[in-house]
Symmetry: C2
Subunit: 339 residues, 2 copies
């Protein structure tokens, strides 16, 4: 067996799992943003015929998984595991989606880092010989997150300029033990870093240090330089967190000025869409990966990308009890060729 | 590579991971129950010097992981991954514990099925060559769960006879790529089954069908008969769910009358402790496995056990929105010998 542990936090896949198919669904606001032409399905309204936003989020996640499976030429019986998560208490959107899909199910919680947490676990289970096909799925919804974490929507709360806008949508990646790529090559799993931020309207600052830690570990463990990648993409640091990350990485000797950006910065138009510090939510990175990135990799625009979703692992209760916001970030590298 | 997929839901470990060490912490009530002599640490009060029950739960989980690592002769730097979960919104007890431990972290949510979900993922990551040591950890706390899922404790709510009592405590298992056992041999991952129960004070009934489904899949996939095991232990079906499971398994041709029980039935005294339908919570099965089962396996009382934690994947909001309670169960077999 080849060496898979290549550092404290990084693993190298022995037989890199292939991305068989992927799908993205977004809400109306995301469907008016700069990446609108990349999403597979843009909803006309964010209830999608359901009685509540929570039920709508569950339907969005479920349909996204179904479309991804279908696009891969499979049926749900072919999928060994569904590894899914979201932001809602007890991740009920994922569980109710999994109930309808009837696939062996592992629920996970990594807040907005969930997409790369799911891809990491999925890649290891496939490379380890435990699965042929795994569905990695996440969702988030502006209206479910806003009323759970912040204020009733009817209240019309004025948002801070450092606050981010939760993306409504879902992304699914189907990983396969065989296929023609792109391939998952390295995964770097994050440790929690907590810089002591207590303002839940400033999550970019809370998450940036963990993102920096994961990036530095990735480059040290692999011996790679940022220039190895055509694109380095963080999940949802937004404008505030992106600037912190670039500044501090530069001080550590890593130049990210040419090939790095953040999904939260890219998904909305800064001047037209009034989302302040950018997008956030599990779906923010998920729809950018499964909408934009994998499609541009298929066209050959990018051949090597490093995806790193970022999460803020607080709750309303932990904030009320005076706790600061712990951050985490998991990185996954995707390459068009196996070697 | 040996065949690891031996059925739709069951995997056989090629190099069975070994249980290096384990630790259990319980609250005062659990420390007065029938299994009191097995727990490693019994707390004198359920706040343990903290300002809130939520902070206490986090401390209980963190200290439990630390003690288990220490008992295994390791330090936290040796642990490749911490895979942890609990019942609280955004699993903050696990995240705040992980923050203090500084181990690469995967948060998971399987409600009361979390212990075997963690053991399943941990065993596959080790057998797949991605880790040498993994800490599988869960916690639950009567006072945090009661006020989150049911009523303020001060209200003195009268409990239904079908209701279960959330166990205060934490359990940690350290899995290792090498060692002298006991070993994780098979894992059977559950699908969600939802029998349509909407009464969150009757979770045994909500979870029993998924437990039956996982058990039947385990026996079909492995070709084993229930009599193969010295002990088959479900997580927290309690008195109501245990009876349903035994009845329906008998109708399907599986006799569980000799070697099956439920952790929720065993952890409290039915007549003295006033817990109605028995114990529940992530820690219910976790402290019975890491307290009672592994200690009795070390003494040779049991050589082959099948552990199956069971989870009810609802939230207060899903119940308020009229949704039924989805159940799930994951089974893990543990044997004293490798073959």
């Amino acid at each position: 067996m080849a060496l898979k542990k290549i550092g404290a936090q990084t693993r190298k896949m022995e037989n890199p799992p292939s991305i068989l198919s992927y799908y993205s669904i977004v809400g109306p606001k995301e469907g008016e943003g700069p990446l609108k032409d990349y999403f597979d399905l843009i909803l006309e309204d964010d209830l999608w015929g359901q009685e509540s936003w929570e039920k709508a989020e569950s339907k969005i996640q479920e349909e996204c998984v179904r479309y991804a499976i279908d696009k891969g030429g499979l049926s749900s019986e072919n999928i060994d595991y569904l590894i899914a998560g979201d932001l809602i208490n007890q991740i009920t959107p994922s569980s109710y989606s999994a109930r309808q899909l009837s696939i062996p199910y592992y629920g996970i919680f990594g807040a907005c880092s969930t997409m790369t947490q799911s891809l990491s676990l999925g890649a290891m289970l496939i490379d380890g010989g435990f699965a042929d096909y795994i569905a990695c799925a996440v969702s988030s919804h502006f209206s479910t997150a806003e009323r759970q974490f912040r204020f009733p929507l009817e209240y019309g709360n004025q948002r801070k300029m450092s606050a981010q806008w939760t993306v409504t949508g879902a992304g699914t990646t189907i990983l396969s033990s065989t296929g023609n790529g792109p391939y998952v090559k390295y995964i770097t799993t994050g440790k929690i870093i907590d810089p002591g931020i207590t303002d839940s309207a400033n999550m970019g600052s809370a998450m940036a240090p963990s993102a920096i830690d994961t990036l530095v570990n990735h480059f040290q463990d692999t011996g790679l330089d940022p220039s190895y990648y055509d694109l380095i993409l963080s999940g949802d640091l937004g404008y505030v967190g992106k600037d912190i990350l670039m500044d501090l990485m530069k001080k550590k000797g890593y130049d990210l000025s040419k090939n790095y950006t953040d999904c939260g910065v890219e998904i909305f138009d800064k001047f037209e869409q009034d989302t302040h510090a950018g997008g956030s939510g599990c779906a923010c990175s998920a729809v950018v990966y499964n909408g934009y990135v994998f499609k541009e990799m298929a066209k050959g625009k990018y051949n090597r990308v490093l995806l790193m979703s970022t999460g803020a692992l607080h709750s309303t209760m932990s904030t009320q009890q005076g706790e600061s916001i712990p951050g985490i970030a998991h990185a996954v590298s995707i390459e068009n060729t196996k070697e």
